[in-house]
Amino acid sequence: MNILVCLKQILDPEMPSRDFHIDATGRDADRGSAGLVMNIFCANALETALQFREQHGGKITVITYGSASAEEILRKALALRVDNAVLVKNEIEQRLNPWSVARVIAAAIRKLGDFDLILTGRESGDWGDGQTGGFLAEELGRPCISLADDLKSDGSNPALVRIRRQNDQGWEVIEALTPLVITVTNHEHNVPRIAKTRDVMQAFRQPLTTWSHSDIGVNPQSITEDLARSEVLGLVIPSKQTQCEWIKGDTLDERISLLARRIANVVQSV
């Protein structure tokens, strides 16, 4: 199967809250000294694709739409031995929204040729929109299966895949015919692997495809229009912090007794 995985570079979401600041526009985070990383759910999607290729064969292409710095996550993917990597450069000086991202990636897909499976993360760790996969499915007129945590091919029919997806009660298994868009969530089985040092070195020498908007026939005007659908008016940092009462006592036994009493008080009032 021919698989495309969409990757996004984001501000390191594990940075401590005290290092988080808002930029001069008041509408986005200040980069500051924080690192940029591959969105974790993209890494889960990539891992899912790699496992699928190991079991059933196929080719993996990764794509990102972003600034030049996003090359780094493509190199990370190349170090995990994906077959192709594409960077579509964001040439407008604005934060992207999922609608514009999906439009641009759909245009790139038309140029790249058809994919049986298109994988995205369930959501980004920065803006947490969780929309790109759904929009992309609609742009391409394909079904979308979301919150997938396992993907297998059906031995008998090469166009049929079995997807396990999470829901609020547990999970369900879906059988679907390709082509499909799938959004991937985290699971113990798709924890991202770590690249071998040799492959990391190799990855730096591998070719990347870099496209501009005009290379894929995207009119910047249409991006501006999509950005105008929803406008971020401002960001604030919530100030809510609670004063923690430390459970103190001379002996461990005393402290545990005190803790037990505090817990019992709350529980008895329920």
């Binding site: 809250s17 369930r122 979308c144 009660q169 298994v173 105008a228 008016l233 461990l252 007794s257 329920v270």
Partner: protein, 323 residues
Amino acid sequence: MTSVVVSCVFGWTGINRAAMGVIGAGQRLARELGCTHVCLLVGPMSEANVSNVSNFADRIVVANHPLLDNYQCETVLTVLTQVCKELNPKAVLFSNESYCQEIVPRLAHRLDGSAAGDALSLTVQDDAVMVTRSVYGGKAQATVSLRRSPAIIWVRARAQSPAQPQPQTSQISQKPLALEPSTRVQVVQRHIEAQGTAKLEDARVIVSGGRGLGGPEPFAQLQALADVIGGQMAASRAACDAGWVPAGWQVGQTGKKVSPELYLAIAISGASQHIMGIADAKTVAAINVDPDAPIFHHCQFGLVEDYRQVVGPLREKLTELLV
């Protein structure tokens, strides 16, 4: 003809606190926009439930069909697109259940509108719906204006005040549906996790474990403690990803949003993404070896200690206290 605001409730979930939150948000938004409030019920719904909901909206539209006996995304999307194209709404609201989350962007695209998820508050400015939502894993809150109508939104449903009864009951109509079964996508198996994880959102007491527990075995001790205080079990993402407990136990940004009277976090550091899931907990308490763990910034009370020294004796003392 006045425009409408639609609050959409799925029959597979029924009328619970989340549904009442969505309907409440729809009711208030409709009033603010000067719109009619339509409650759209999709899928199987008992007559009692339909008539119950009819106290909270100006109009009820019921969309049911044998092919809607079980949720199937593509079919539900077809139904919603049909109904919404006729109603021509300014806004359509859904709850935060996972089935709604996947519908929202796709419906927005089909209706050529705008989309937003995890909305905390909904207001109106310049005739556009404005939402606030947590971003950057809870480190910031954004205000977003959905300028393109219709605005398709899923809200954090249990954080919305429930709907208020209206003076007159609403008119109920059935939407006739012509549907074809999907040939491309089929649900072949459904599995409900043994612990009623769906009910985690309704739990009054929660005992939650993190990576610091070091393995799956200590969760049995936490379970014993939870049993004594009538609590349900939950976990951090790290514990779920390690495969120690089912994925459905995860609390946080991308897990369950809970609102218990007591949330006891054991060996959980309190990353902002985890805190996002417990913002509505009344009392948070923690046991952690590290006094600088961020979880303590969100606690009413906390004990700095190795959990291994604490959990067993704590259970015994609580057993005595709670007889």
